[in-house]
Amino acid sequence: MEFARGHVLVCGGTGCTSSGSEQIIKEMEAQLKANGLEKEIQVVKTGCFGLCALGPIMIVYPEGAFYSRVQVEDVKEIVEEHLLKGRIVKRLLYDETIEEGSDNIKSLNEVTFYQKQLRIALKNCGVINPENIDEYIAFDGYKALGKVLTEMTPQEVIDVIKESGLRGRGGGGFPTGMKWQFTANSSNEKGKYVACNADEGDPGAFMDRSILEGDPHSVIEAMAIAAYAVGADQGYIYIRAEYPIAVKRLQIAIDQAKEYGLLGENIFDTGFNFNLELRLGAGAFVCGEETALMNSIEGMRGEPRPRPPFPAVKGLWEKPTLLNNVETYANICQIILNGAEWFQGIGTEKGKGTKVFALGGKINNTGLVEVPMGTTLREIVEEVGGGIPNGKKFKAAQTGGPSGGCIPAHLIDTPIDYDSLMAIGSMMGSGGLIVMDEDNCMVDIAKFFLEFTVDESCGKCTPCRVGTKRLYEILDKITKGQGTLEDLDRLEELSLMIKEGSLCGLGQTAPNPVLSTLKYFRDEYIAHVVDKKCPAGVCKDLLSYSIVADKCKGCSLCSRKCPVGAISGEIKSPFVIDNDKCIKCGACIESCKFGAIIKS
């Protein structure tokens, strides 16, 4: 690589790739060539910057110009104006980065979206080219592994991790150092394994994917450190096949590390051996559960096994196995390099460090954020997330995916960490955070998550297999206006039974969306059951559309738009909707220019 005076960083994460960043990179390279700049300007495909809502994203250094929603047609202008003549293309800049009243560009760290963030796990995401190990090394990559192998004993490594207070980022929040200690203490006779859980399956969650796409080496290096600490020499990353970009980059990263001798035999000439392989999952949610995951790696059906024995004692092929989540590993190297005290200084008393969240739903800055533990939900939603679109009101946030619960508006100032979320009936989960506004029906949300768990239950235990199905049926009944007040009690009773009776985490947490919505939004359930109304206007069977005669001009537009011919009337006199024929599609409301159609 020669000296380049400018770097064009284009996001190559899944979000931006699906909005066309590949084509932008191709066009950029062609345009640079056409202008004779190909030797001066380096194009770098990076991982996710986090602001997925504004993709495709491009950052041009040294100016630090942050271009958002770049289209292929814009590339020529960027090359000819910015890169050739040094004139920044203002119309494409992310407007938050322009300093008011001047032409200066603000540094990214000054933008509200990044201001409250603290990037540890995502440190290199959007900064380096994940397919180039040299760039990872330039940002202190593999330094932690070198330090561990040459200066520390395995027990010292475990002690640092214990002291740091790091807890598992997959959702449960088990202290990571303890897990390492248990695995290290197990007998080493037949060998041990380290494994990485990259089977991220919650709807709306993409933290692990982004880390693996943007900084795969950070996980590989951490796994080698973990292997040294617990006494393993073989590792597996279990990743879902639906993450093709992450799989590809991981494989490239593993190959490069092998070529450099950072994986394989006698690493750093210390006699330490470590090999790493990928195992692809077929996308079953239950395989994110640790025992099911290990069954799947062994080539068996992805079904959970009873614990104990825990993986630290009997894991893969009955040998002691250390299994951590992607984000947990992504913190390890930074802890080794900066020390346990540094990490302890971040976060809350019981939740140290940061947490990555995938922000989704009714929020302006859909994307990936990393904030210190203890940041309140309000800060995440209103400041980092940029608030709720169209001036709507915040109603609830769903954390933890199908295993988590809803946090209602009156608890929006709850500082987020493992224990505070548990206390209010939700959970950290792996980090999906779905924001809901007043247009979301909470019964419908609960039904949505139950539909997911019904599909994903592996079927091994009856409480989960049959129980979730029955829960779903009761919810379905309620959304159709056929529920009774007894159904609400039945929901609760059944939920508690499923939680009690299931073998694995999937069943034990599957009723959480029902329980937490029942707890905080019981009035909505009652409205569905007693008044046969859906306050948010979502449940179709409880809606009726009508035309306000005073406002209707009799233009007949709605009648022409109606796909089932449910609207009739005479031109220039008020029309009427036949609710027996109406399928509640809402096409009439959208078409009416006079606001004469209402739903209730």
Binding site: D134, Y142, G146, G261
Partner: protein, 121 residues
Amino acid sequence: MKSLADLEAIRKKTLDQVTLRKDEDGVRIIVGMATCGIAAGARPVMNAFMEEVAKRNLEHVAITQTGCIGMCRLEPIVEVILPDKEKVTYVKMSPEKVAKVVAEHIVNGNPVTEYTIGAAE
């Protein structure tokens, strides 16, 4: 790779190339690249700066362009800003003059007075 020294060598080598992406204050070399600058030969000047910076393996140096600053008759104009120092403006630059500016000003911190706008006026 068998040693920490090997790792450090790769780190150092690559750091020069990626240091641009860090928010750090370094030396900034700004070349006037408006029509007037380009016509007066700003591009060879810029290329010369890049070659010189690469040759000397200088860290924390950013080379950027800017538009017309209004003194077209003095182009190619190059501004050099060292951290916490006043901006120095060089005029009527040529690729030949670049090596001296890099060696004396950027490396040793002594502006080449004879090339500056003060000397030309």
